[in-house]
Symmetry: C2
Subunit: 889 residues, 2 copies
């Protein structure tokens, strides 16, 4: 058995305590690996002349040493810390542990990357029964002093001594109840003194230890606690999920305290240098007079907008303005800052890049380019591609109160509401009556497409992020919550149960496809608006990306949407979706149940003109951009009805013996259809199916060529495992096309390629490439086979797999780079070994995932193809991947 081991290096570094005070700092913003993010920024702020409370940072190396000593602070650390501490004392003219004018400090952790689960902060360290009196005197505010002491005991006993802090909270509440007051602020100095005594008793009782009264003991304890918090189970899990090596360690920041709660000339606040919702260039934030930082967050008193600070404290406000402008210019990004004003003097406590909405992200990036703060490339690297999704779909109004019913997977974004229906037929029917409906199904199948089109959104109780419902909905840009297993749908009684609610057909619900939430009743939605910044950023992205971006689209409508979003071709047109039209599905079924080749060909002949027209329309919209058409892929049983009643009706319509039809349909059943008689296997046994499709494509191209368009169709053979399959099917396809060319007298170029979606195909890509003009990696199926996980069945365990950290992310959402990715890379390299410069793309769902796109850039794919609404995401992700790659080289 192996458990995570702790670092073992225990070398004393040359320097490991970095002082900062009054414009001078031993560290800087570039030293994040030594000082952590917080410490590096504190040093930088100090160095650029901002008012930062003096202090010092113990470097991350000491965290390593701490563990090497078996969880003990090495003795050689202490003298250096004390030396720095006395510099602070000299600097602000207070003394640590002094009973008259005591120096109090804060102790905070700070790793290279911000990391929840680690200890955050201990304030007011240095207080004890004697120093508290000194503070009372020096501040001339005994209540403030005792309140600080009380808070310190609460924090310290919790974080350092490992006591259950709710116990102290309870006795605080008890006292308030006893005195019949509601607000902490109404406790008197005497109350607080009593509480301190009570608290120390309880600490002794619960931990068996006296609360340390020696400020130095407090200090060493707090430092050790920071290091210890680096390796708690929660922190370990987080590190593993985010690939943060154990060896990085955390730094410790020790800083003199400043107080915003020393009277009406004191205040505390948080602010953003620009509006984080809209991106508007406007100082944005809030503050509280006579308060400590935690009071702003706790929400007991309502903070005031930052603009009012200008009138309340004009001097400190002016300093704050100068400071934030300096910071933004310096860090070249919108900053999220914390500050405190102590007796009219401004202190900057923290700065970091501010979180923002997608809209703000674009606005700020564009503004900063115009302000010449950053370059276009820097701007691109600032914008999270995944966030663009927010801009393309309606969202739920955050101001509305909502009743949460359940939470499923956020399968396709958007906020929608409508009446519940349980069948696709009803969805179509109600839609025609002008109603908005939500289609609720246990799972969806290709037969449900019409209902999915008609519905506002789709809710399923089974299936994962790449289940049929999820993939199709994303393709349509339609809201979908999938795999919502808390909801129990009963088709027979036409109702669904969830958390005690029984919802009937016609009841209204609201879906949030971006979070996977399902709400009761109607929730107001906000329509998306694309402004000029979106186009501008997209154009910038297009300038730098190498990867082409295509789309997966099966209908003229999808193709048009994708073109509008900037798709440079179709990477995957799934022809089977064309088979489900009401005008043709019965012909498809006749073909399937045919007993002989000639019967099959008769049925296929009915489909030919329709397929030809499908392709004609699609090619026309794509105006000569490449279009990759995948020949029929799914197993045939997906096209036939399975209920007794439907089979009988079909038998009547196509004039077939019902018993025989039932038997025939039964015989199509497969145990593992994913691994069954599908893809090119259909064409090996029934060559006439692909021949019809190839002919439809060729005839459409011939017609368009006559009309003056130039296009090179790409015909793609799916599910190839061996070179031989492709060899046979290629030669068959060539024969059909050459025949059409002869018949029509029109010559045109064409390409025949294959999907690489089976491990064997990737491993033998050098052989397969002999017969392929291009490769397209079908990473959905490749993920299923490489991992041996059916995406439709993964729901039952994938949750545990992600929470146990077996997968960092759902491998159907973001490609498993180590496993599936290795096979893709192998396939690309082997394919190009045989054919130098072979055109290679990807058409799985991963084509629209930013991390996956970066991977595909790095292994030299030519293009990615994704659902229409993900095209902008892919464009930006591709640009960022290009920039990062150039930066590495």
């Amino acid at each position: 058995m192996t458990t995570a081991t702790t670092p073992t290096t225990n070398k004393r570094p040359e320097k490991f305590v970095y002082y900062f005070a009054e414009g001078v700092a031993e560290g800087n913003a570039g030293m994040k690996s030594t000082l952590g993010g917080k410490g590096a920024n504190l040093a930088e702020m100090t160095a650029i002349g901002l008012p930062v409370p003096p202090g010092f940072t113990i470097s991350t190396d000491i965290c390593t040493s701490y563990y090497a000593e078996g969880g003990k602070l090495p003795e050689w650390v202490k003298p250096e810390v004390l030396k720095a501490l006395s510099r602070v004392e000299n600097n602000i003219n207070k003394k640590f542990g002094d009973t008259k004018n005591p120096l109090l400090v804060s102790v905070r952790s700070g790793a290279r990357a911000s990391m929840p689960g680690m200890m955050d902060t201990i304030l007011n360290l240095g207080l004890n029964d004697e120093t508290v009196e000194g503070l009372a005197k020096s501040s001339n505010n005994p209540r403030f002093a005792w309140d600080s002491y009380r808070r310190f005991i609460q924090m310290y006993s919790d974080v350092v001594m490992g006591m259950n802090s709710s116990l102290l909270e309870v006795s605080l509440e008890d006292m308030k109840a006893e005195k019949n007051i509601h607000n902490d602020n109404d406790l008197t100095t005497d109350d607080l003194k009593k509480l301190v005594v009570k608290f120390k008793d309880m600490v002794k009782q619960m931990t068996g230890q006296n609360f340390p009264s020696d400020p130095f003991e407090q200090l060493w304890g707090a430092i050790s606690a920071v290091f210890q918090s680096w390796n708690t189970p929660r922190a370990m899990t987080y590190r593993e999920l985010h690939n943060i090596p154990l060896s990085w360690g955390t730094a410790v920041n020790i800083q003199s305290m400043v107080f915003g709660n020393m009277g009406d000339d004191s205040a505390t606040g948080v602010a953003f240098t620009r509006d984080p919702s809209t991106g508007e260039k406007k100082f944005y934030g809030e503050f509280l007079i006579n308060a400590q930082g935690e009071d702003v967050v706790a929400g007991i008193r309502t903070p005031q907008p930052i603009s009012l600070l200008r009138e309340a404290m004009p001097g400190p406000y002016k300093d704050l303005e100068t400071s934030y402008q300096k910071l933004e210019t310096y860090f070249k990004d919108m900053q999220d800052i914390e500050f405190t004003i102590e007796k009219n003097k401004l202190w900057m406590l923290q700065t970091r890049n501010g979180k923002r909405t997608a809209k703000a992200s674009l606005q700020i990036a564009c503004d900063m380019i115009d302000e010449k703060l950053i370059t276009e490339n820097e701007a691109l690297l600032r914008i999270d591609p995944a966030s663009l999704d927010q801009l393309l779909h309606p969202t739920l109004d955050p101001k509305t109160t909502k009743t949460l019913l359940a939470k499923g997977l956020p399968a396709s974004p958007g906020g929608v509401c409508g009446e519940i229906v349980f069948t696709p037929e009803e969805a179509v029917e109600l839609k025609e009556k002008g109603k908005k409906v939500i289609l609720a199904r246990i799972e969806t199948s290709p037969e449900d497409i019409a209902g999915m089109v008609a519905a506002q959104g789709i809710l399923t109780t089974r299936g994962g992020m790449t289940s049929h419902a999820a993939v199709v909905a994303r393709g349509m840009g339609k809201c979908c919550v999938a795999g919502c297993s808390e909801v129990n749908i009963d088709y027979v009684s036409e109702q669904m149960k969830v958390k005690g609610y029984v919802l009937k057909k016609g009841d209204i619900i609201t879906l949030d496809g971006g979070t996977g939430e399902v709400f009761l009743g109607e929730v107001k939605t906000i329509e998306p608006k694309l402004d000029g910044t979106f186009d501008r950023v997209m154009k910038m992205a297009d300038q730098v990306r190498r990867l082409k971006v295509r789309t997966n689209a099966d209908t003229p409508k999808d193709a048009q949407t994708a073109r509008d979003f900037g798709a440079e071709g179709i990477g995957l047109c799934r022809t089977e979706h064309m088979f489900f039209g009401a005008d043709r599905i019965d012909a498809v079924r006749e073909m399937i149940v045919a007993e002989t080749r000639s019967e099959r060909e008769k049925a296929l002949a009915k489909l030919l003109p329709m397929q030809r027209d499908d392709f004609y329309q699609l090619f026309k919209i794509m105006q000569g951009y490449p279009v990759t058409i995948r020949l029929l892929d799914p197993p045939l049983h997906e096209f036939v009805p399975h209920s007794e009643k439907d089979i009988e009706e079909l038998a009547k319509r196509i004039n077939y013996d019902p018993a025989k039809l039932k038997h025939k349909i039964g015989s199509l059943h497969e145990f593992n259809p994913m691994l069954g008689h599908r893809g090119c296997r259909l064409a090996i046994t029934f060559p006439e199916i692909y021949n019809m499709q190839s002919r439809a494509i060729a005839e459409a191209v011939a017609q368009l060529t006559k009309e003056g368009m130039t296009l090179i169709p790409e015909i793609m053979i799916p599910l190839v495992a061996t070179e031989k399959e492709l060899q046979i099917l290629r030669s068959q396809t060539v024969e059909v096309i050459e025949k059409v060319q002869k018949e029509t007298g029109v010559k045109f170029e064409y390409q025949i390629g294959t999907m690489i979606e089976l491990p064997r195909a990737a491993i033998t890509a050098h052989e397969i490439a002999k017969y392929a003009d291009f490769f397209s990696f079908g990473t959905n199926d490749l993920t299923q086979t490489t991992l041996g996980i059916s995406r439709d069945d993964a729901g039952r365990f994938l949750g545990s797999y992600i929470s146990e950290g077996i997968f960092a992310k759902d491998p159907f959402v973001s490609i498993d780079q180590v496993g599936v990715g290795t096979l893709v890379k192998t396939g690309v390299d082997l394919g190009r070994q045989t054919k130098n410069g072979l055109k290679v793309g990807v058409c799985g769902e991963h084509g629209g995932d930013p991390d996956s796109v970066e991977f595909f850039e790095n292994i030299n794919l030519d293009y990615v193809s994704c659902s229409p609404f993900r095209v902008p995401i892919a464009r930006l992700a591709a640009a960022r991947a290009s920039l990062k790659r150039k930066a590495r080289n």
Copy 2:
């Protein structure tokens, strides 16, 4: 598009015509690549002094030149051929094309490897309207001469001129009808003369060409036809399937004719130097007086046993005896020979190694060792391991007349008959009444095990060579015909239809599991008998093999069988098969439908003592040999009933709400169970299942250790895709075992390893090896995922795949070396990169396939594991693989 290209080298070789006559030959048996198999053996026979009709071989190089010239015989070939031809003329004192005493020749193809689909033979070449008269005179037998001429036109027009030869056959039959005779021999000389005229007319009519009368034109035409036949579609397909390179080419053998039909002092025959059925050292064969070779095969006259030849023609017989003994001594193997006696003079026409039964194969090999003809190692290389299957199972008596009903897949060998039953319950019931039954099912599932045990044999209409029925039956050594799709089973009416027959429950059928045939009624069977040669060969094999051979066994009975066949441990014990016992299946089901962990643990506690006893028994039989136990693998829905009625009964038995039970069972449904919630995924979500099994194993080992046995159990975690899964489950298993060791006070060694059966596991084997004490490749599942083919659904297309040459062999029977094999090799190499000398085996069905075993030897596996009845095959295959490998190095 690519078509097979033809060779392009056109260099004139130094020597390309090899003469042989009267004890002198320019070639020898070692020159197969130049002279082909037939030519090389003719040269050798001549050289060792056997009477071979003089002739010469045109080397395979000329085949290459022929294609390089665009399908034309290079002019420089002809003078050399004519030179050799005139040597033949001088040698036997006849002249080619001579009207008085014409030399006639045979022209035959002969590649390095015997290859059906190529031209075989043209006899009597050199005849025309003039030379036929010379032959009539010189042979003093006009009828013989004209009959030879007639035969020659038939052969030549077919093979060389590409005419549909059935047309000539028809006019021959017309003449017989007209004359009211039944036998070709009753045609008179005049009849034959008329036929010759008629034949030549028809050739002219059908081909537009005159039948060539110039013997030299005939000769060049025949030679060209041989070369041409090297590249017919049939020959190409065969070559591709058997990896015979196009460049090998074929040789042409031209030999003076000898005639067994020149009177009662002439004869023709075929013989084996030992009995090909029993191996007995006894000259064995048959002959016909006054006949040509084709007459022996045609079966118009009944040939006589060779022993009678001694009296009929004592002189030639003595020569024959000398010849065959010389041949056997020379080739050191049993020979299959063809001879002709022309006017009391013996001529040897062909010799080759004779085909034989498995029994004969062993007998001959042992006898030849004793005769010091061959070494033990040579003997091992002579015996086809796959043929041993014949020796271990009853076979159908070949002498009985049979009515074939249908042909399925030969899933598990043996010949059995019995009454048809359609349910496992009936099988058990009738078996208890002492009846023999055949269990006929559409497919089988683990629920059918009891019925499979009770039945003589199993017939299924779906599923392939590794379907459930096939795998389980092979494991039991029980006859099984699988995937017999012609048979239509209807459970409701309790009958099956096939080819117009309607068979009801209780009707008797016979299965031949070695051929996949199903016969009507009872067919007599012959019980197998193992004699001393079997043991002797096995011991010889054990001396030379490096690979260990284990068995896949789940029950003490299987384990004992395998031990008797020489298994050196259990490579795969599938614990799920232990879950189906009548005494425990309901406890298993309680565990499955449990809502909470504690309910689940309660049900598991019932199973613990039974599982412990299972393992105790198994370990005991294996007496310290290694035993690998695979923890629970299949998806849970395999253990629960699915019919309404069965669910209700179960609900009653386990005291569960029927509606809730139905819902629970329904929720276990999976779309692709093969890729679903199974294997180690079960243990990630329900750790208590594996914990119970680990405890059962540990407690059994502790008990046996107390009893004085030493054993090291190998616990195997299935379906691992990531190192993390194994890390988690390993640590959990270690914890359980250490707890049991503490409780019992017994210390023992143990190993924890994993199955590598997913592509991702093979690719990341270096990571997985960190937590594995051993690897076992599950090549069944690895084949399914690597190729993306479900073995249970492959039936619908695998047939086409094999007949189209996409797969040379069923990849579930013989490992796909290029695809799946590459992953296995990668897994082995990566695993040992992390752990030098890591123990690695294979436990898929491939472990009992000779070709696969050779592959596993070459990639350095430590052992193979196969079903008990395949253990002898694997032992021999491993020995041969070792020998071949040594010969290469």
